[in-house]
């Protein structure tokens, strides 16, 4: 019944648009009573995101049974991969939904509130793990937001490519950037085994952020 409602809803949304489709249209096509729609979906917007509630619960459970000996940032990065997988499991559905949410402001707002709940789950977990650190809640909030932003960036570029690219690799890459930014300064990977050197010559009057950009591109160059 849930699935029938979702199928009917998307069929109508795609052929005449979200706002041009009333709940009466959906239940008429699905052949069920109007009241039953609101039994399964608290609002018309919920039918567009039928699996987020389950995914959020799964992700919260994943964070809940973490052990203290794991890097909390890494753990959150693993958690966000669960969310991405929910999207990549149904590529065509996800792409259709993306096109829909992109043009309907109401759906965009609803999606934001969903994303916010994921981010809150990250932040709450990190707050617990970073409580003993100085500025623990600040770090938790900022890292949670950065992880969510990296996820959204990777997800959106995958969605824009109609689900063709490698979303998982893109997410790994994006999370690598976040982790490098927030990595504990004590453990630099590969620091010891690096062999060659980079020489950057900069005028002393140049702004520091530009110098940093130069160094970054120099380090990235093969």
């Amino acid at each position: 019944m849930r699935d029938a409602l979702v199928a009917a809803a998307f069929q109508l949304f795609l052929e005449r648009g979200y706002e041009q489709t009333t709940v009466d249209d959906i239940v008429a096509l699905a052949g069920v009573g109007r009241r039953s729609f609101f039994r399964y979906f608290p609002s018309k917007e919920d039918v567009v995101f039928p699996d987020h509630e389950r995914c959020l619960a799964e992700m919260t459970a994943f964070l809940a049974d973490s052990t203290d000996d794991q890097d909390p940032v890494r753990r959150v990065c693993d958690a966000v991969r669960i969310v991405l997988r929910m999207y990549t499991e149904n590529p065509t559905f996800s792409v259709q939904r993306y096109r829909l949410t992109k043009k309907v402001p109401g759906l965009r707002a609803y999606e934001l509130s969903v994303v916010w709940r994921y981010e809150r789950a990250f932040a709450d977990y990190l707050r617990g793990r970073l409580a003993n650190l100085r500025d623990g809640t600040l770090r938790a909030d900022v890292i949670a937001a950065a992880v969510a932003a990296a996820h959204n960036n990777a997800l959106r570029s995958w969605l824009r490519s109609d689900g063709q690219g490698d979303a998982s690799a893109a997410l790994d890459h994006a999370l690598g950037y976040v982790q490098s930014a927030f990595a504990a300064p004590s453990t630099p990977d590969g620091e010891e085994e690096a062999e060659d050197v980079v020489i950057v010559v900069s005028r002393r009057g140049a702004p520091l952020w530009r110098v940093v950009q130069e160094i970054e591109s120099a380090l990235e160059k093969e």
Copy 2:
């Protein structure tokens, strides 16, 4: 008229709650016609955030007339201070609104969409400035999210203290953390009048933050 509607709305929201107050109640108290309410506010939620539209425009304009020789991350940090100032200009109003949005899910969702527009403005600006870098859009999105999260963290702790603490100082502290994470430290003194060059030799594979530290100390040394 706008102000009268806002005043009437908040009086009723505070004494009987947001959802228990209808638009008819508000216009009856304000002594205006129902249709006029929707002339000034597109929706019932908008009356709770009467000044965000103006603030968003102000902030966008601030970012629009930036020059290329400024550190873009610093520029975004300055922009977010404008937003905080809008809150701190009316402490009691902001605190009342905070209590309201905290308990009404619909208002929380609306606030999220507002915050999202600020974050988009940051990200769009940063995307333009970091376009030449590798992963420019990724960096832009992540930094924008981090700055917004730092702002929200400082703002919320100020709101929870009933507007008693020093919000500006808290924001500066939070932004300092974000800037240190993304390797955009403060510009050293005597930047402009320096003429000679600095040569930094760094092992490829060294973490960026350590390289930046080397540069900073090199620049600071006479």
